[in-house]
Symmetry: C2
Subunit: 353 residues, 2 copies
DNA sequence: CATAGTACCGTAAACGTTTACGGTAGCCGT
DNA sequence: ACGGCTACCGTAAACGTTTACGGTACTATG
């Protein structure tokens, strides 16, 4: 062991220790072909022994890449309306893929006070990430065009109107709408209410449109007064139920499109002595609470971890450095949801409905 | 405008545009004293005009600092019991402070499959962040010693047994335990159950210990069979209720220390025809659902955004470059929770209890 | 033996910043 | 007129990597 200049740092230290050049060390570490297998072995060994880890700043500076993938999300959950474990679970899946490629996932948290596009602009300007995953996609989302123009790899969780040809994955709201409507109609329901978020998130449009179509296929119309908008949280669900109960001509069934509104919805019904599954049919989205409501909520459930995996693979398939690993990744796809049968939609009407 | 070499990039481009040296540009941008106020103005102006943003890799490489603060958390909520909404709110507060100092917050997501210490080791070796916030602190948490040895600024959310002298903030579980026990005893309860997470998270020990003390102060003992362990989620709450109901000598009150278990707990009670507030007193932690349970849960609520602010300030007060901004930041402190009165603890017993 | 080819390795430039150092010009006081 | 001070600015080195390029030694081929 060379004692002479042990104060050297980084790759130079390692090179000195092995008495070879830093170029060779780098090549050995990065799996380049031009290096003897025996020396490579020695380098690898010495690297773990000395605990050498390449400095990311140096590497990034040199090759203009950071090995970081950013997952952009908004803080302040009233905006997204996802359940409490939604992102955690998705992250888990995303990370499972990234870790195979030495990529690090970081959550980019856009504060509720800042404009998402401004935030994204800053992130990009700083060259923070090699690729991006966007959530809370808006119907018209300027972020998409922004990234596309700059050739920055990205995938969105959620469709928009402006993403033609751009990679996205989305939940299968159409499938949910179709299946739920069919199910309710089959049970004799004719007057069916639906919900949607209050803001411009695209899923609202998609969901309501498909509900309308599905009803039309049965010769039914979607009454405009039965489309309830609300903040996608418990209070919103409570409000929806109050509004619904106040109607002259109440619906006999309702579809709740957000995860978190069911609890508030149930509560308002309960206060009015109206019981899901007996007095009104309710179908919602899965959340950890769904099974513990009375009665258990019939809902559509999503495999979140798998969704995360698909998101990661889709993104990587658009990145030149990784695309050969994922030749057949989904680029535009909706992610299926499975029906979890509860008792909240047990109400069956006869033909007179 | 110099057309000659517009293909230059970064600071050089800016310097060329202004016909001054890159050194001066850098000094102007970074608020150094040795620069004419007039030129500084021109530089700043040109910078926004050309949309110049300093490259982070270059800067990091030079000054060995990244301007990034990492917030480490575990994905997979079965572990921490804290979900998206908890962290989002805390992040919002943290970010409010950091943005004043051009610091970026990134969430470091340790997958549920990886050992947190290993993960942290990688993060540190890569020189990813200038400082760290640790969550899900274990009773014996090797990460603390690891960071302390390397003189890496950090603060933990949650105490441990091994953090003597290290900065931490924690929720005031003692205060909650004390207030809740006092409240219940004042209402005549003598046989009070408590819960705790199933794993080695420190809060379990702290909470139960203080409950014991608080009871002792009233001349009461904490029956060991009334300490319920569970996963910190809805299913755990359900299980606890089932176990509780199966006891020969049921408690008349219970304290739920985790946020998300109340829903499951309520459900199991409901199935058995036992109503909170009438047949058993229940006190829990605030969650978005708490108010929409029947009856509304009496719970302890936390100002999460303020907690985030405090966490950020505490961390910065330990970092040489920022400490002068936060001379009086809290270094070790518990964060108070406020009581939100519901009806779930309305049950009052007479002296015969 | 000369040449070409191969396998491996060293050298040095480059990435975009920050900053220590030195230099110039103007000004003031003697 | 001169030295010293101030205010400002330019130069160049340094941070830790990766990688194009060239070089050496050896082998194979003619």
């Amino acid at each position: 062991m060379k004692e002479e200049a042990l104060r050297m740092k980084g790759i130079r230290r390692l090179a000195q220790h092995l008495d070879i050049s830093i170029g060779t060390v780098s090549r050995a570490l990065n799996g380049r072909p031009d290096v003897n297998e025996e020396t490579r072995r020695r380098v690898l060994e010495a690297a773990t022994e000395l605990g050498y880890v390449p400095n990311q700043s140096g590497r990034s500076l040199r090759q203009g890449t950071t090995n970081i993938i950013g997952f952009m999300m908004q803080t302040g959950t009233e905006i997204t309306g996802q359940g409490d474990t939604f992102f955690m679970s998705v992250f888990d899946g995303v990370q499972a893929v990234f870790s195979r490629h030495q990529l690090d996932l970081v959550a980019l948290l856009c504060s509720s006070e800042e404009d998402p596009s401004d935030y994204l602009r800053r992130v990009v300007a700083r060259g923070f990430a090699d690729g991006l995953i966007l959530s809370a996609t808006q119907r018209h989302d300027p972020r998409i065009e922004f990234l596309a123009e700059r050739n920055i790899p990205f995938v969105t969780l959620g469709r928009s109107l402006t993403d033609a040809g751009r990679p996205w994955l989305d939940l299968d709201f159409e499938g949910m709408a179709q299946a739920a409507i069919d199910r309710l109609v089959a049970r004799g329901h004719r007057r069916i209410a639906v919900t949607r978020p209050h803001d411009d998130v695209n899923l609202g449009y998609i969901f309501v449109d498909r509900c309308r179509e599905a009803l039309a296929a049965h010769g039914l119309a979607l009454d405009e007064e039965l489309i309830f908008r609300s903040t996608p949280n418990e209070a919103g669900g409570y409000q929806i139920a109050r509004d619904l109960l106040a109607l002259e001509d109440r619906p006999t069934a309702i579809l709740l499109v957000n995860e978190t509104i069911a609890v508030g919805f149930y509560q308002a019904l309960s206060e009015a002595g109206v019981r899901p599954g007996r007095d009104i049919a309710v179908i919602g989205r899965y959340s950890p609470q769904a099974h513990f409501l009375s009665p258990p909520l019939t809902c559509f459930r999503l495999k979140l971890r798998e969704l995360g995996i698909a998101l990661a693979e889709t993104l990587l398939s658009t990145m030149p450095a990784f695309k050969h690993h994922y030749p057949q990744a989904l680029v535009n796809a909706v992610w299926p949801m499975e029906l979890v049968e509860g008792e909240s939609d047990a109400l069956t009407l006869d033909a007179a409905g």
